[in-house]
């Protein structure tokens, strides 16, 4: 039973490696990175208040940026990959 469990664990580890090497888990890693650096993705939007006239007064608003969808991510990922020299002789 223990052997079986160990065998299954090894297969799982191997499968994760295959997913990593092939790029299949790229979106998951993108999401991990996105949420780990969530503060960097908040944008500042300056807008004038109702005071009007010559007084300029700005209120800074934070607008949350959502992560790319899976489809959007893979489209960009593919397009970006083939921008430079990627395959040799």
């Amino acid at each position: 039973m223990r052997l079986l469990k160990r065998g299954l664990q090894n297969i799982q580890v191997l499968w994760q490696w295959i997913r990593r090497l092939s790029g299949q888990d790229a979106y998951e890693r993108y999401l991990l990175h996105f949420y780990a650096h969530q503060a960097d993705h908040l944008t500042e939007v300056a807008s004038s208040t109702e005071h009007g006239g010559s007084e300029a007064c700005c209120i800074t608003q934070e607008k949350k940026v959502l992560p790319l969808t899976k489809e959007e991510f893979y489209k960009q990922w593919q397009d970006r990959k083939w921008r430079g020299i990627n395959r040799c002789c």
């Binding site: 993108y30 430079g84 002789c89």
Partner: protein, 686 residues
């Protein structure tokens, strides 16, 4: 306790075993030699080189600093710059650098016997290619993943940068042309091969649509489906080959196939990447890795005998596959299997953006090139397990040995390599081909060698399937390189023209896409056309040109590295890059001199053009040759001027590097080092 006792004996044992194997490889004459000696010698050499030479370079010359943050960490954006596990980076880097070059080059170089090519694959890789890859990867990583061209410009000056740009563009054009020629020659009068290769286009499109729209991101699923479809295409090709009517649709001369490849190249360059290029790349990567592993296993299990002699008489320059003596042409021909300038473009492109820690550079830079060198050794084995007579019958052009089978076997047998028409006919039938005579370019003979190895290891009754599987495997990643190279050439041209008219620099503006793609395709398409109409098979012209361009680019990369080492005050270690650099300068310059100035019509471009002109004027050429003679004459002259231009670029960069080194050593002002400032890493492990 026992293990501790044995540990000090490990490396001396490997050294002794490697020496014995090398001695066997180098000194054995007469009867055949077992391939296991080559494998043993290679593995021992690689192990010792990695453990001692690479480690010393990493520690003393480059001084890799594992406490230093890499650009992947500092500029981590989750997209381009991503600290990545070293094994994943190794896989991606190896997939990027391992192209058809290490398969084709050794196959052609086997003309000289197995020994010269094998020794150069081992020595050249350990002292040259691996050093170039590792040093370039390190320098780029320290400079925020700058490209080779950018580093050349920033460290040496505008001359170095411009030379790198021209070198990159020219090698791209020549490379695609020669690879296109390899594929065309593999498909020529081979309905099975042509049908299978043609089928890879809709298969790639199906996979592209599947990954883009049906199941986005399901790379493994799509690749599995693609591999199944590809194997089905190999089997279906066999069925087509047995249908009289269908067979005729796929049975073509070289020229129509060349036009097809040119049309394909143009279409692939303008279509979106997800439709053809990306899915083809996934499929070719899986096929490449799987086939290389299977070939290695088969060779180790079978331990086949190498039939080719260690050294053939053709070291004197009279060889049928390409003209030229052992020196310098074995080095020019092997190219990628030992040193490849193209790798410097990869090592200063995507890979540096993924390096999580500098200590990974040794494994990825040096190690991946060692693995590619091992692929080259296996290609050498696959080519030399064939009977020499068979090898030369497949690879010798009709223009050299005669059009008729009887003439060819008589000539080849007169060299001491006995072969009969019956033997070749039987072999062709076994491989499912109508004929294997004059199937130049390296791909068919490599496929025959691989088929015979796979057949003996995994099933002798399926030789034809193995042969066409090998052809499909070679064609699929040649065509990926063709797609990718044309696209990169297009981007480079758009960048350059964008300086004159900004609109042209917009990569998605369709008129610019069409024009620049057309120009790049016209460039390599012209050389492909010449290679196809050449009665000597085209390899004699194109492969040396590619080899010289490749080695020139390697010399540029090593010049940049040498210049930076001197500027960094590491003069006592400069020999590490300077020795392979000097060797490349000697080899490339000598090859260029001979290709331009030699009176031998099989070597010298001008001599060949002059000879053909005289024969055309005298009216002694057969009609079909007279029709294409003006094109061939013009091309030979053009190739001579291209060769001169390549050598001028090489010497310009070398002299500019020497100027910078001299100024640096004398304490004069030079461009400052562009290394990113030190920042401590916060990553533990990735």
């Amino acid at each position: 306790m026992q293990i501790k006792f044995l540990k000090p004996l490990l490396w001396p044992s490997i050294a002794i075993l490697g020496s014995l194997a090398l001695a066997m490889v180098a000194l054995h004459r007469g009867e055949s030699i077992n391939a296991i000696w080559l494998i043993t010698a290679a593995l021992c050499v690689y192990t010792l080189a990695y453990r001692f030479y690479a480690a010393w370079i990493a520690a003393s010359v480059l001084a890799l600093d594992e406490t230093r943050a890499t650009p992947a960490e500092r500029l981590d954006n989750g997209r381009d710059f991503i600290p990545t596990n070293r094994w994943v980076v190794f896989g991606h880097h190896f997939a990027a650098i391992a192209g058809p070059g290490p398969l084709v080059g050794p196959t052609l170089a086997a003309q000289f016997g197995y020994l010269p090519g094998t020794l150069w694959i081992l020595i050249g890789a350990v002292i040259g290619g691996c050093v170039q890859d590792m040093v370039t990867l390190f320098l780029s990583t320290r400079r925020n993943a700058k490209s080779l061209g950018q580093m050349a410009r920033d460290e040496l000056g505008a001359i170095g940068g411009t030379a790198a740009l021209i070198g990159t563009f020219s090698i791209m054009i020549i490379l695609i042309a020669v690879l296109g020629l390899v594929v065309v020659n593999a498909m020529k009068h081979s309905p099975w091969g042509t049908a299978t290769v043609l089928a890879t286009i809709p298969i790639a499109m199906i996979i592209g649509i599947y990954m883009r729209h049906l199941r986005p991101g399901q790379v493994l699923e799509a690749s599995m489906l693609g591999v199944i479809l590809l194997l089905g295409a190999v089997v279906a090709g066999g069925w087509i080959d047995h249908q009289e009517t269908l067979r005729g649709w796929f049975d073509h001369e070289g020229l129509p196939l060349a036009w097809g490849v040119i049309a394909y190249g143009f279409a692939a360059a303008i279509f979106p990447v997800w439709l053809l290029l990306a899915p083809r790349d996934y499929l070719s990567t899986f096929m490449k890795l799987g086939t290389v592993i299977a070939l290695a296993i088969a060779i180790v299990l079978l331990r086949p005998e190498i039939r080719m002699p260690a050294i053939t008489p053709f070291i004197d320059g009279t060889g049928p596959i390409f003209g030229g003596k052992l020196f310098p042409f074995v080095f020019i021909t092997i190219a990628c299997g030992a040193i490849s300038g193209f790798h410097a473009l990869i090592a200063s492109g995507t890979t540096p953006k993924l390096i999580a820690n500098e200590r990974d550079i040794r494994m990825i830079g040096y190690g991946a090139m060692l693995l590619e060198s091992f692929v080259a050794i296996m290609a050498m084995i696959a080519a030399t397990v064939l009977e020499p007579g068979v090898f030369f019958a497949i690879n010798s052009p009709a223009g050299f040995v005669g059009k008729e089978a009887a003439d060819a076997v008589a000539k080849i047998s007169s060299w001491g390599y006995v072969v009969t028409t019956e033997q070749m006919q039987l072999l062709a039938e076994q491989m499912g081909e109508s004929s294997l005579f004059a199937r130049t370019g390296g791909a068919p003979s490599l496929a025959v060698g691989m088929a015979s190895i796979f057949g003996r290891a995994f099933g002798e009754g399926m030789l034809a399937l193995w042969y066409h599987f090998a052809i499909m495997f070679e064609a699929i990643f040649i065509l990926t390189t063709l797609d990718a190279g044309t696209r990169v050439g297009r981007f480079m041209l758009q960048d350059m023209l964008g300086n004159l008219w900004p609109r042209m620099g917009e990569t998605s503006w369709m008129p610019s896409v069409l024009l620049t793609s057309g120009l790049v395709v016209a460039g390599w398409g012209y050389f492909l056309y010449i290679g196809v109409i050449d009665p000597n098979g085209g390899v004699n012209i194109l492969w040396p040109l590619f080899g010289m361009a490749n080695q020139m680019l390697a010399a540029i990369a090593l010049s940049v590295a040498t210049g930076i080492l001197v500027k960094s005050g590491k003069i006592k270690w400069v020999w590490v890059t300077a020795i392979p650099l000097v060797w490349l300068i000697i080899v490339t310059s000598t090859a260029a001199w001979q290709k331009v100035m030699s009176d031998d019509v099989r070597i010298g471009f001008f001599a060949a053009a002059k000879d053909l002109s005289e024969k055309l004027a005298a009216g002694i050429l057969p009609p079909e040759k007279a029709a294409v003679a003006p094109h061939l004459i013009f091309n030979q002259q053009l190739d001579a001027f291209i060769t001169i231009a390549l050598v001028l670029i090489l010497w310009t960069v070398v002299l500019d590097m020497l100027r910078v080194c001299w100024r640096s050593m004398c304490g004069h002002d030079v461009l400052p080092s562009d290394e990113a400032p030190y920042q401590k890493t916060r990553l533990e492990t990735v």
